[in-house]
Every structure is written in structure tokens, then in C-alpha cells.
Symmetry: C2
Subunit: 100 residues, 2 copies
């Protein structure tokens, strides 16, 4: 059978689960994540800045939270930053919550 796990590909550590829950709890962060996930190609920092009425500093803070929770993958190129949603991590979080 398909190598090991029955249907869920990933297991998250306790600590990461808490980070994810906290990351998702802030509405602004949720919106940012949503926008990143809206396109399979992700979104750039500037893209998001155009949609969210907060300072660049605040955005940067939120990106850090999302990244350290493992919810986004960051690619920096020159002065630009590009983000992609890590659907595998989100899926693993949902799977975990579903087992309650």
C-alpha cells in the first residue's frame, strides 16, 4: 500500500500545532493566508500590501508568524519576497483537529 500512513501525509509536532492555531486566530493573518492561497503561484509582499490596510512593518511581522508556523513558504529574490501556501501543512492541521 501507498507507503506507510493511511491517508494523511504529515504529522505535526505539538509545538507547531499551537503556532498554527495562533497564526489562524488573527483575522488579518487569516486574510493574508487566504490571499496567498488564492493563486497556486502564491503572492508577493507588494501584492498583499496593496490589499491590506496595514503598514509594511506589520505585514512583515505577520509573514514571520505564518512562516514560523509552517503555513507559508518564503522565497526571496533580490529585494522582493514571494509567498506560497503550504497546503500539506494546513491539511495536516485540519486532519489533526478532525480527530478531536
Amino acid at each position: 500500500m501507498a507507503q506507510g500512513k493511511s491517508h494523511s501525509g504529515k504529522r505535526l509536532a505539538e509545538k507547531q500545532l499551537k503556532l498554527i492555531a495562533k497564526a489562524l486566530a488573527d483575522p488579518r493573518r487569516y486574510e493574508i493566508l487566504r490571499q496567498i492561497g488564492a493563486q497556486e503561484s502564491g503572492a508577493s509582499c507588494t501584492d498583499i500590501r496593496e490589499c491590506q490596510p496595514v503598514s509594511a512593518a506589520t505585514l512583515s511581522h505577520h509573514f514571520k508568524e505564518l512562516e514560523s508556523a509552517g503555513l507559508i513558504k518564503v522565497a526571496r529574490q533580490g529585494k522582493f519576497a514571494h509567498f506560497k501556501l503550504r497546503r500539506d501543512v494546513l491539511r495536516a492541521y485540519l486532519d489533526h483537529l478532525a480527530k478531536i
Copy 2:
């Protein structure tokens, strides 16, 4: 086919989604919810008090948060309170998040 909706039974209002995300973000509340959900019959306030090293006042506060998020159903009988996990609401929250 099984009456009506295709696979997700419930739609949650924006506001409730935020309350749920916030409720789940606190580790203590998560543990409480977990304990309530562990038995199909739910758990009493006293049950939970025996497992969580916090004051009754704090517990009461958390119950209120969980209830107003719609994650638990409360039944009071005399001096006792009994809680059950609302799996339909949790499910609806997960379905919503999965659509990101």
C-alpha cells in the same frame, strides 16, 4: 441521496469563524475541548476541573468562550453543568478552512 447538502452540513457566519479560531488558539481551551470530545456523552465541569490545573473561575471563563464560539453545548442541571462537543460546528469550521 442523504437529505440535502452534498457533504458539508453547515455554513458558519464570518463572526463565528473568528470566534472559533480564537477559541482554538489557546492551548488550555484546546485541551478542555479535547476532553469534552473524548466521550460521546461529554464531560461535566467537575470532571474537567480534576484534569486542568486552573481555578474554577478560569474554567468558567473558558467555557463561556467555547460556548459563544458555538463549539460546545451546555446543559445545566441543578448545581451541575455538563458540556458536549458540537461536532457539526467543528466540522463546518474545518470545511471552511479547507477551502482556503
